[in-house]
């Protein structure tokens, strides 16, 4: 069995109006090569669920997004994502703004096939006011009210991993898998990009299998794109590209997203993108930020 696909073949499976989940966290381990491929496509009206960074900002700026389900969208060292901000401030996107933990519960509910998970998160705040779809319910077991966090069912999830075999066994070797397991499980189809494709026997060595967080039946497609998380990080291989993200942020003030798109993405292959940002070797040399 081989699940190996090209980035174009992955994006061909994403249709207008779909709900897509994007793994990673802020500027960390985002499947950016697939985001770039989406940006080159004519897909539109997406609902995006993410712990958002430049992935969400770019998709918003390119007019791909109908709705964002978010708790934050941030580049971390640049706290506010400039293009997401613009989209919000022009009222051009619909939103479901929820707590970070609520998003996790929504993904788990979808993964587990239950319609909602009760939680106290959101009570007493505007989260339950600005999201009319979010129901507050009585409990059959106590006298309190609870927020019924609905399942965040995803049509497609996009995740970037360190290693995979062609059957879809995926390894995340960095210190944190973030919520990627739940994005993978919550989706009908999960497509991963990987730094490396290995033989299945690789996972039989030492404790390598301990860094595999979902079974291969969850993985729909595997695309080999070393450096594919750039300009976000893929710890321990490389850190996020501070200079590039600063330049990206600068385009929000001058030039706009179109200028960024024209410089780095439009009409370019991923290899040409990597050439334009200094090459794969330079990406692999990006240091891991330390706080």
């Amino acid at each position: 069995m081989s699940k190996v696909l090209s980035a174009q073949e992955v994006v061909a499976q994403i249709e207008d109006g779909m709900t897509i989940g994007i793994g990673g966290w802020g500027p960390r381990r985002k499947p950016m090569a697939l985001i770039r491929e989406l940006l080159r496509s004519d897909v539109k009206d997406l609902t995006v669920v993410a712990y958002g960074g430049a992935d969400v900002g770019m998709l918003c700026a390119a007019g791909k997004v109908k709705k964002v389900v978010f708790a934050f969208v941030s580049l971390d060292f640049i706290p506010l994502e400039p293009f997401f901000r613009k989209a919000r401030q022009t009222g051009s996107i619909e939103t479901m703004e929820i707590d970070e933990g609520m998003m996790l519960l929504g993904l788990r509910a979808a993964s587990w096939g239950v319609p909602y998970i009760p939680t106290q998160i959101g009570l007493g705040t505007d989260v339950i006011k600005v999201n009319p779809d979010l129901k507050v319910i009585d409990s059959p077991y106590d006298d309190k009210e609870w927020v019924a966090m609905p399942a965040l069912k995803l049509d497609v999830s996009l995740v970037h991993v360190d290693r995979a075999d062609k059957r879809g066994v995926c390894q995340i070797k960095g210190p944190d898998m973030y919520m990627d397991e739940w994005f993978a499980r919550a989706a009908d189809k999960t497509f991963v990009t990987t730094e490396e494709i290995v033989e299945t026997d690789f996972f039989a060595q030492g404790d390598e299998a301990r860094y595999v967080f979902w079974e291969r039946s969850i993985t729909t497609g595997v695309t080999l794109i070393p450096g594919g998380a750039h300009p976000t990080s893929c710890s321990p291989a490389y850190g996020f590209d501070v200079a590039h993200l600063k330049e990206y942020n600068g385009f929000a003030k001058e030039g706009g997203f179109e200028a960024y798109f024209d410089k780095y993405i439009g009409g370019k292959t991923e290899a040409e993108y990597q050439e334009a940002v200094g090459g794969l070797e330079a990406i692999n040399a990006l240091s891991i930020p330390v706080y």
């Binding site: 969208v73 506010l80 919000r88 401030q89 929820i98 707590d99 996790l104 007493g124 705040t125 106590d142």
Partner: protein, 267 residues
């Protein structure tokens, strides 16, 4: 050991005042968002509450807090437990945490906002971060607030533009809850220390930083602050505390956190 320091900055005074928020919290995860709250939590962990837990801001709990400046790698840090972001939520929901956070807006109910300002919800004038983990944190564990510039812009007259954390607002109290279910710690500003233990959980002045008057606090707060008959002065850092602060911040990053890096005593 407890000799008060002669020379200290406002940032150092605020760190020492902030550390107090963690003193009686027992064995909980101490989270300081931003450099000064993080040094404050570290100071508490290294002195009067050694049971505190702390992360490396990435994926591990540490038995010894990492310095906030001067590090180039996670190698050699005293990690003791894997603590990826998903486990942070497990910790939050276990209630064993105290976070010190820096809201953009705080209202008279102790509700806060980091999401968006002005305009309408559909089209805010200024989009900020989003509610992040504030709704879950605020209903799960105590939070303290750190305000580097005490003004009516932060302590707003009305309700927050977007209420991201639960406070002591009777109109929003969830069914089955009492006010005391909401836990709040200290409010540390560049002018004073306050808490939410005034009448009906209102904001109450606890101490004034050296050289600051009650009037300055009142003028710069958009709602009523309960002022006791006598207000003590915020204690100066001790030499022992100053030594630990320098250890936790060897490159003096704290000098750049408060505008102009003023002296701690402004009299």
């Amino acid at each position: 050991m407890t000799t008060p320091a002669k020379d200290y900055t406002l940032a150092e005074l605020m760190i020492v005042a902030g550390a107090e928020a963690f003193r009686h919290e027992g064995e909980v995860l101490a989270t300081g968002i931003g450099m000064l709250p993080r040094i404050a939590a570290s100071l508490a962990m290294k002195t009067f509450n050694t049971d505190l837990m702390m992360t490396d801001s990435e994926a591990f709990l540490l038995s010894e807090p990492n310095p906030v400046t001067g590090r180039t790698s996670h190698v050699g840090q005293k990690q003791e437990t894997w603590m990826g972001f998903s486990r942070i939520f497990d910790n939050v929901w276990s209630r064993k945490r105290h976070a010190m956070v820096g809201p953009t807006q705080i209202d008279k109910f102790g509700q806060t906002n980091i999401s968006a300002l002005g305009g309408t919800y559909e089209q805010p004038k200024v989009m900020m971060l989003g509610v992040r983990g504030f709704p879950g944190n605020s209903i799960s564990h105590p939070n303290s607030f750190f305000v580097p510039s005490h003004s009516t812009k932060t302590f707003v007259a009305g309700e927050c533009d977007m209420v991201a954390s639960i406070g002591y607002n009777p109109d929003r109290l969830p069914k089955g809850y009492v006010m005391d279910d909401v836990k709040m710690g200290l409010v540390i500003t560049d002018l004073c220390v306050m808490d939410w233990k005034g009448a009906n959980h209102s904001l109450r002045l606890l101490s004034l930083h050296p050289g600051i008057t009650v009037e300055q606090v009142v003028e710069n707060t958009g709602f009523e602050v309960e002022v006791p008959a006598t207000v003590p002065t915020t204690p100066a850092p001790t030499e022992e505390q100053m030594a630990i602060i320098r250890l936790m911040d060897p490159k003096d990053g704290r000098a750049y956190q408060i505008k102009g890096n003023p002296a701690g005593d402004r009299s």
